[in-house]
Amino acid sequence: MNSPAPPPVLDLDPAVVQRARELTQRLGQPVVDIARSHTTVSVERAMLRLAGLSGADHERVPWVNHLAEAVRADVGLEHGLALPVWDALRRGEASDLLTLAQRSSAGAVTFRLPEKGERTSAARAATAAVRPGMKKMDQQRRARERLIKRHGDPEQRPWIYLIVATGDIYEDMEQSKAAARDGADIIAVIRSTGQSLLDYVPEGATREGFAGTYATQENFRLMRAALDEVSAELGRYIRLTNYASGLCMPEIAALAGMERLDMMLNDSMYGILFRDINPIRTFVDQRFSRQVHARAGIIINTGEDNYLTTADAVQAAHTVTVSQLMNEFFGKEAGLEDWQLGLGHAFEINPEVPESFRLELAHALLARQLFPDAPLKWMPPTKHMTGDIFKGYLLDGFFNLAGAMTGQSILLVGMMTEAVVTPFLSDRGLALSNVRYVLKAAGNFTEDFSPPPNGFIQNRSREVLGEAVDLLDHITSQDAPAGSTPLLEAIAIGTFGHMKRPATAGKGLEGVAIKAEGYCNPAIDLLEADGWGSAP
């Protein structure tokens, strides 16, 4: 499972690298403290999902949402849902969690905050209820390990990552199997646009989506089963990817853990910057979802490519490094190990820029060398893909070559029709044939490729690292008022991706609460007590 990075070829000053990590920690730790002192509706609903509550009413509003709202109306969110919910069950308000949710949605249950002995009993009952959900994730993790042993990992690096998204899960299953047979190692099912801003997880198998397919527990299960089938056929474990992002990130992470998804897109700041989700909500949801991923053995994919689509890829190269460092810090703090950190970066330099390919190599090598044990995710050109599909095909070839030369771990296959149409079947076939050719012709290029000392690539990589340290230094030294942190201030004034996102605004803010004294969430307790993602 480990990602064999090529030997280090860049001459980076270890002291500068160390300083970068120290500054990142100084920047990140206060944000972790804020995340730990808050909870969100979605974190609480994820706990209910781990306790086995699923399904939705006839208007497709999930029962976890009904129950969470009912409890919140009576006793608030700040104590966590566990105590009032299991206290109500102990008082005989309903025989089980589902009935309780149904009754509470009709206003037939009054919740209270239990005290003393009753409180201890409710907490114990809640922990016992959540434990099977943890167990399910542990079993799925073991099942994955077993299947990888049986079918094997892909023979080559990078692993080939392909996107599928028809809106219809049954169509997706067929297309995914076809893609796997054609060489894809990882299938990502893009979500329906707009799902990230839904404050609930849709239910059931879905056949209608908007430029993507809804992430639901049933869709996860169906797709994983389809890929298990094709894995056995091909003798290669095909990994499944979805998105733990948006307002329901913690719940989707829990569903992914229980349904054996293998990778999840999960970036520490993407939701803040590109979806205008409240920063506190995001950091709280982030931490919980990463704890779940750690436990479930899921590899996260971070979204640094997005920085380069909104800003110039040369000028903003160092913001990618800063984001990677922060994703590493927040990821490890939440219990993820190096092999689970699919840090992202992208081939987005304007092809009109002189030496653009050498610059790409410098940036790609920098990431490779800073994170030698992380399965780096290398993302294809999108911003400078035009309707000139012929040039686009060439650009994708150079992207593939850069990936091979710099030892990238996960290669998202670029489409020559990017920005033109939803890829045709033939576009996908041609794209895979592009990748196959390059990997066959130059797959072992890392063996020969070592840029000369003080050459263009060496200098550029040091320059980007230097700029990253300067930016970290600059943000860290900013003053922050009480209750805020320098990182939150930097996000508020538009330091990242030119997006200004104050901590007091953004979507989902109303679903955030400061934890009260005696806050109880057995899911968090179990995630933190049972050993942080180390194999159970």
Partner: protein, 260 residues
């Protein structure tokens, strides 16, 4: 003179074109015949099948060359021509000063779930596009760039709060006609929220719009790929000056209007 033309391969009048397509049948002799039949029906005579390869077990991909029998009548070509003068930044500013006697307010956004701000940023940001500075650079244009994934109701509210003269919306994502849906939703929301005749200029841009579809989409202007900031600025000045008299006079008392 040369009002009728044919595609050019390597000789005038040869009519040569290349096409590629996929047919949902396995690759065999019959599939190749089917591809040639399609090419012939498309008017490629003679058609040359130069490449055929399986795409999975049940599809075949073809590349076909052929001489197109169709003729292009240049007199019958219809395009949306620029119907306003292209002004320099200085002239744009001057014109706004003269006709509005206040800065022109432009609110821009990517709406729906579209996160591609490339287009709107190219037009609005000082940095600009194609060597031209964006609208923020114009002293008489006040730009409010709301960025990505703005919900339509928020856009309407922000446009009202800013007393927008023009609303610029960029739409890059086109899957399942998202750009069409989003634009019609947006224009309908503005028509609903504003009294008739008071709706700000609605301008939409993106690489996949039909520039002549303004009526269908309910907008005042559609800009396609490669549009530069000065084209947009010149258009705004042109469009505003033809609406300016009624707008400027009725606007004054509303300056202190309290937002509902």
């Amino acid at each position: 003179m040369n009002d009728v033309i044919r595609p050019y391969g390597d000789t005038t009048g040869d009519g040569m074109v290349q096409v590629s397509f996929t047919l949902p049948i396995p690759h065999d002799k019959r599939a190749e015949g089917a591809a040639l039949q399609l090419a012939t029906k498309m008017g490629l005579i003679p058609a040359m099948l130069v490449h055929a390869t399986p795409m999975g077990a049940s599809h075949t991909f073809f590349v076909v060359y052929g001489s197109a029998t169709h003729l292009v009548d240049l007199d019958a070509v219809q395009v949306v021509d620029r119907d306003y003068p292209l002004l320099s930044a200085k002239d744009v500013n001057l014109s706004i000063k003269k006709s509005l006697r206040r800065p022109l307010v432009v609110v821009g956004a990517c709406i729906g779930t579209d996160a591609h701000t490339v287009g709107i940023d190219a037009i609005l940001n000082i940095k600009g596009f194609a060597g031209e500075k964006g609208l923020e650079y114009y002293s008489e244009i006040q730009v409010v760039n709301l960025g990505a994934q703005v919900l339509v109701p928020d856009l309407v509210e922000k446009a009202r709060a800013a007393h927008a003269d023009a609303v610029l919306v960029s739409q890059v994502v086109t899957q399942r006609d998202a750009h069409i849906h989003n634009t019609t939703t947006m224009s309908a929301a503005f028509r609903e929220a504003y009294p008739s005749g008071k709706v700000p200029l609605l301008v939409v841009g993106g690489p996949r719009f039909d520039e002549s579809a303004t009526n269908e989409l309910g907008v005042d202007r559609i800009f396609g790929r490669g549009t530069t900031p000065s084209e947009v600025a010149s258009y705004l000045v042109h469009a505003m000056s033809s609406r300016a008299p009624q707008r400027a006079s009725k606007r004054q008392p509303k300056a202190k209007e309290v937002k509902p």
